[in-house]
């Protein structure tokens, strides 16, 4: 449940970037950054989660933004490539220099007091991000972000500094991604190199595609389908990935627009239903 909510947040973080025209293949960068900051602070100073998670959220967002500012000029596939590579680079750096616990990571970290608290934090955060981001995208600020996606040159011609807006979007997306990482660190009481793994980059994208890109609620919904599905298929052993893959392919072919836009469309059709006499 906790990981489902966190993947939901990651998927919305990805969706926010896509709505700004930035395709990220490296959500793991945000996730891992938050996870390691929270883990390091807890391990070295013994700070409790209610200190480390906020610091990791803001700090992780800032670090990710600073790292990616030099490549904000890149568009589409070029930006995607850079984001794909960065988390992989971090894994190797940690492995080679043995900083932050090296291959061992930090274990025995402080956890939440009880499972109810953990769940409450996760679900509240999920809802806060969902409504916060949806509200944001309907403000004039959000319109500018969507304008950058549709036609960045026209936004420039409108006298708006698109790099400043892209950086702000990146900070927001990075922050909530880092938040998810920090929560997972405390939930698992462990942080290690796997937090930069490809899963954390790919699953949010899959969730967004299944749920419906650009709707924010869709990606969250997608995560609530995909993560439990992945767990349910665990019983199949090695064949799990095969069935999971088949599901994704069938789904993408059947409802390419995503579940949420599909349901919305069907609902509107239902609402305006009229019988046509032959």
């Amino acid at each position: 449940m906790v990981s489902t909510a966190m993947f939901g947040i990651m998927a919305m973080s990805w969706d926010l970037l896509v709505s700004t025209g930035l395709v990220s293949l490296g959500q793991a960068l945000f996730f891992g950054m938050g996870a390691y900051i929270a883990g390091y602070l807890n391990h070295s100073f013994g700070w409790p989660f209610w200190v480390t998670i906020p610091i990791a959220t803001v700090g992780g967002g800032l670090l990710c933004t600073l790292l990616l500012i030099p490549v904000l000029r890149l568009r589409g596939i070029y930006f995607a490539m850079v984001t794909l590579v960065l988390p992989l680079v971090f894994v190797r750096i940690i492995e080679a220099t043995k900083i932050f616990g090296g291959t061992e990571g930090f274990s025995g970290l402080a956890s939440f007091h009880n499972i109810e608290e953990e769940l409450a934090i996760c679900l509240l955060a999920l809802l806060a991000v969902l409504f916060g981001f949806r509200r944001l995208m309907s403000t004039d600020f959000g319109l500018v972000l969507q304008g950058i996606r549709d036609n960045d040159r026209a936004v420039i011609s409108s006298g708006i500094d698109i790099y400043w807006f892209k950086a702000q979007a990146l900070f927001l997306a990075g922050s909530v991604g880092a938040f998810a990482g920090a929560v997972m660190t405390h939930a698992y009481m462990f942080v290690g190199m796997p937090v930069f793994a490809l899963d954390y980059s790919i699953l949010p994208i899959a969730a967004a595609v299944v749920g419906g890109m650009g709707t924010l609620a869709g990606p969250a919904l997608g995560a609530f389908i995909l993560v439990p599905l992945s767990e349910a298929l665990r019983a199949l052993g090695p064949l799990r990935v095969v069935f999971y893959g088949i599901f994704l392919v069938v789904f993408t072919v059947a409802i390419p627009e995503g579940i949420l836009p599909y349901l919305q469309r069907k609902y509107h059709q239902f609402e305006r239903w009229v019988d046509v006499e032959a």
Binding site: T139, D140, F141, L143, V144, Q146, G147, R149, D150, N151, R153, A154, V155, I156, S157, S158, G159, I160, D161, I162, G214
Partner: protein
Amino acid sequence: MDGPYLLEVEQVTKSFGGLRAIDHVSFNLAKGKSLGIIGPNGSGKTTLVNIITGFIRPERGFVRFNDRRITGILPHKIAQLGLSRTFQMARPFYRLPAYKNLVIPLFSPRVKKLVGGKYGDRDATAIDLLEEVGFERDSSVPFKPASVLPHGYLKRLELARCLALRPELIILDELFSGLSMSEVSSTVPIIEKLQVEGKTLIMIEHRLRELFRIVDRVIVLNYGRKIAEGNPKEVMEKREVKEAYLGTE
């Protein structure tokens, strides 16, 4: 015609690989005047606009706007100085409703400084602007997503986006291309109204008859060079211009 000029283009040169796209082009434009830029396809008209608006940096030469050198300044800063343009290809913010397309320029620091405006006010301003360029106020057109609007509306939406910035100098890059005769004749009065308001205009246009009704002076480009300048009638009589358009015998 002598200074003070609103826009001065001085010996501007730009090459793409071995191709001289713009070759030592100079011209001036006084405040409140209108200038046409014409020339065959590929003669460098749009490149010249891109240089003036800062999207392309020239190798040689410079552009001055309001006595300030703007070559080398980032394009969004140039736009904020009050130099606004339309794009030849009307590419709106497709997924946004037409009027929300205008909220983006209305959100720019320039407009905020000039007129202020809060979230919500901008929507009303946007709908007023759309009416000015001929969107029917009491219809659903301003609220439709830009992706479903026909070409004629997109071109006028592009014009409105340019005007939303409250520019001093307006550059229209082939505004009339792809418009029907009736759409053109309904757009011409909009532009004439801008002239009455004292706006300075540059128009790139292939529809010469309509262009010559609007502007008092034209420059002709061919292979990146300025081959003629003057009032429309005289210019079209020149041998170089006829050759550029019709070819040599």
